[in-house]
């Protein structure tokens, strides 16, 4: 409650609420370069133990450089998380005053600021869209087998997207691992690995969602490579494809 009062005071005295009439959320009142510098100091001492100096996450913590937050998106929502913590996780409440909290948030937001425009997009988006269709990208990326690329430019850089096209094996995220297994009855199972525990594996194949007990398997392997073929496109064509993906659409 102490912070609610502070927010109200600050809002009333200096700032006002966000412009949209329908919105009751408050935007960060301490977002100057000096605030961000102060926030950087606080981030290092209070946050970086778990979130990493680079903001890329430490142990199951989110990657701030994506600009995508899991439990809130507004400044006010993120302010509340820093001050109250997240129940059921190791994210505690912090003893920061309102200004320190806002400054820290300003710095956290700066990890992802200007992300999409960091590198000039060289290619032609329309030609990229045509390539996306003609090269058959949609076959996997739209049907759910491979990562959803809609809006990918918001949380991946030009360099990262380019690398994924040129060298698909470079960094396969665990959520796109696949399985290859043989049942004791002799059947072969393959698909996208969705979940696993000591006793069972959940996966998806062309016919749907499947769950199999490990005790029913004679072999089980996690396939950590990507099924995506190395590209035969020219550099210029890759630029076009990147331009298409950066500008939003994969559908």
């Amino acid at each position: 409650m102490r912070y609610f009062k502070l927010i109200s005071l600050l809002a009333g005295a200096t700032l006002g609420w966000a412009q949209e009439e329908s919105s009751l959320t408050m935007t960060n009142p301490f977002n100057t370069p000096a605030d961000r510098e102060n926030g950087a100091r606080i981030f290092l001492s209070q946050c970086a133990s778990c979130h990493g100096r680079d903001g890329r996450g430490g142990q199951g913590t989110p990657d701030f450089t994506t600009g995508q937050f899991r439990r809130a998106s507004s400044d006010e929502g993120l302010f509340a998380i820093i001050n109250k913590g997240v129940p059921g996780t190791t994210m505690p409440a912090f003893g920061l005053n309102a200004r320190e909290t806002w400054s820290t948030l300003a710095y956290i937001r700066s990890f992802s600021a200007g992300r999409a425009t960091a590198t000039a997009v060289k290619g032609d988006s329309a030609r990229g869209a045509a390539l996306f269709r003609s090269e058959g990208c949609a076959r996997c990326h739209v049907d759910g087998t491979a990562p959803d690329l809609a809006g990918i430019g918001k949380f991946q850089s030009v360099g990262e997207i380019r690398r994924s096209i040129v060298d698909p094996q470079a960094d396969v995220p665990p959520q796109y691992f696949r399985i290859r297994a043989t049942t004791k009855a002799g059947a072969t199972l393959t698909g996208t690995r969705l979940n696993e525990d000591t006793y069972s594996v959940q996966y998806r194949d062309s016919s749907g969602l499947k769950s199999v007990m490990k005790s029913a398997l004679s072999t089980y392997e996690i396939v950590r490579t990507s099924p995506m073929p190395a590209t035969k496109l020219t550099d210029a064509q890759v630029d076009d494809l990147v331009a298409f993906l950066m500008t939003g659409g994969s559908r």
């Binding site: 409650m1 102490r2 912070y3 290092l44 001492s45 209070q46 970086a48 133990s49 778990c50 979130h51 990493g52 100096r53 996450g57 430490g58 142990q59 199951g60 913590t61 001050n83 913590g85 129940p87 059921g88 996780t89 190791t90 505690p92 409440a93 912090f94 003893g95 995220p173 665990p174 959520q175 691992f177 979940n195 696993e196 525990d197 000591t198 006793y199 996690i222 950590r224």
Partner: protein, 527 residues
């Protein structure tokens, strides 16, 4: 049965069989029960008794007590609930009002209460001990022991020894100076206090460079053990602060990462052993001191078994503190072994660095605070092990500020320290948990029950050679304590971060475990 009567005669078993009267089940902290109705032959027939759903999404780390037909449990962070252990229906709920901001490091959790003669004792996040009337749930007294705004916070279940109730403070990541305090159970008056970090003029203060002792940490956040014959209590202390910037606290940093043997009458230190001198990895020695009387090299001795977060399993003479043996129980590379006195032989270059140092075990350790178990029937020591698990440790400079995080570095690891979601995306290549049985004589592994994900579940063994445990995946299960073979498993869909207990209601054996944000009980069908 003869064994039970002997123990009672010796004053070692402070409870009736069928009750669970203190956090660790007994002062020896073996997490072993003489109950024998649930057997390897009938365990498959266990059915759900009841579920207590906490009104809290915090991690449910509490272990209940069952005394005289009533169960006492905490609902995070600081509510105390008395309920009917047969139906799960609450008799009363005490709600402790906390200040808006308190500073538990890693979640607003609590691990339970203590009981003595009609009174419940509970430590709170605002560094208070409260005493409640067990019959009414009304407060008898309350004593504030430290300033919660400096990061002092009570998370463990207190321990009653004779006419005193003992509690220590967490806060090792906030630059506290740890302590253990004893209060009069009748009045709440503080009778003595042992500072885990010695001040100027006190022995051990010379193990801290300059003023670094002032914020040296050494928290206590797990209930200790007690030997009435020796009149000694045993407590594990946590990390020195700041965790990952050891350069500002040159020296061994006593009594961080130690077991301290404290006289409960006076609060005086009888002996100590430091597991990880000048810790650089956050290897709190906050594990269960397991007290066992057994032959050691041809002579009957009062032993203490200790599986430490640093990855070594230790055996001590608990009368003198003599180190008898230490053996690695998981993959580790920060030390190459222990010398004759038990001091680790450090490998060079394993401490935290600016660019990060990958070291085994990772920051959550080879094991942690959740209970191990010792069965006098099998003679085996059981623990939850984090195998093949590493972290990358970073260091940086930071100044102390009151009530702020004071860790001087950080950690990255592919395995998260805790996890709510029932999803496991990674493989086991970055570590997995196992229920591990050690021969405490040799320190060697006897059997292993490996799991896919990590586990923060404690263990319980029984007189029928069943071992109960759970895991982060959401399972609660029973193993054969002799072989490690799976006897029974139930998926409950939430992480287990607590230790199971067993008790009798109306002569019928129950098993209880906290999973997700609820407490589950299981029992055999009515005959």
């Amino acid at each position: 049965m003869i064994r039970i009567y002997l123990l009672v005669a010796a004053g070692l078993l402070a409870q009736k069989p069928g009750e669970w009267t203190m956090y660790h089940g007994s002062h020896q902290s073996t997490h072993y029960s003489e109950l024998n109705q649930i057997t390897p032959a009938n365990v498959k027939g266990l059915e759900l008794g009841w579920v207590f759903q906490a009104r809290s999404l915090e991690k449910f780390e509490a272990t209940p007590l069952v005394i005289d037909g009533v169960m006492y449990i905490t609902e995070a962070p600081n509510n105390v609930v008395a309920l009917d252990p047969a139906t799960g229906r609450p008799f009363w709920i005490y709600e402790h009002k906390l200040p808006d901001v308190t500073f538990p490091c890693c979640g607003k959790i609590n691990r339970g209460v203590a009981y003595h003669d009609g009174t419940i004792f509970h430590g709170t996040h605002d560094a208070k001990m409260i005493a409640l009337d067990a019959r009414t749930g009304r407060k008898k007294w309350e004593t504030t022991l430290a300033d919660h705004q400096e990061g002092y916070v009570f998370t463990h279940a207190p321990m009653v020894v004779k006419d005193k109730v003992l509690i220590g403070s967490a806060g090792g990541e906030l630059g506290i100076r740890g302590f253990l305090a004893a209060l009069d159970i009748k009045t709440g008056r503080e009778l003595w206090r042992f500072q885990t970090i010695p001040g100027p003029g006190e022995k051990g203060n010379e193990t801290w460079a300059g003023d670094s002792w002032k914020h040296g940490g050494g928290p206590i956040w797990l209930t200790g053990s007690y030997d009435p014959e020796l009149n000694l209590t045993y407590w594990g202390t946590g990390n020195p602060g700041p965790d990952w910037n050891p350069t500002v606290r040159a020296g061994d940093n006593l009594y961080s990462d130690s077991v301290i043997a404290i006289d409960p009458d006076t609060g005086k230190l009888k002996w100590h052993f430091q597991f990880t001198p000048h810790d650089q990895w956050d290897f709190d020695a906050v594990q269960t001191a397991v007290l066992v009387d057994r032959e050691w090299q041809g002579r009957q001795r009062k032993l203490m078994y200790w599986a430490n977060r640093n990855g070594f399993f230790y055996v001590f003479d608990r009368a003198t503190g003599e180190f008898l043996r230490g053996t690695a129980f998981v993959k580790l590379d920060w030390a190459s072994g222990l010398d004759d006195k038990g001091r680790p032989i450090l490998n060079p270059g394993r401490g935290p660095s600016k660019q990060g140092t990958k070291t085994y075990p990772g920051v959550q350790g080879g094991t942690n605070w959740y209970a191990p178990s010792y069965s006098p029937r099998t003679g085996l020591f059981y623990l939850t092990a984090w195998e093949n698990y590493h972290s990358t440790y970073f260091t940086w400079n930071q100044d102390y500020e009151k009530g702020k995080w004071y860790a001087g570095g950080g950690v990255k690891a592919p395995v998260p320290p805790t996890r709510r979601e029932p999803m496991m995306k990674r493989g086991t290549e970055d570590g997995y948990a196992a229920v591990r049985a050690l021969d405490p004589v040799t320190g060697k592994k006897v059997w292993d029950f490996p799991m896919s994900d990590m586990s923060e579940s404690g263990l319980l063994t029984t007189a029928t050679d069943i071992l109960f445990s759970g895991n982060r995946e959401g399972h609660f299960f029973a193993l054969d304590a002799k072989t490690g073979k799976l006897l029974w498993n139930k998926y409950l869909g939430g992480q287990v971060i607590a230790s199971p207990i067993t008790y009798l209601v109306d002569g019928r054996q129950h098993v209880a475990i906290a999973v997700g944000s609820a407490l589950f009980t299981f029992r055999l069908p009515e005959p």
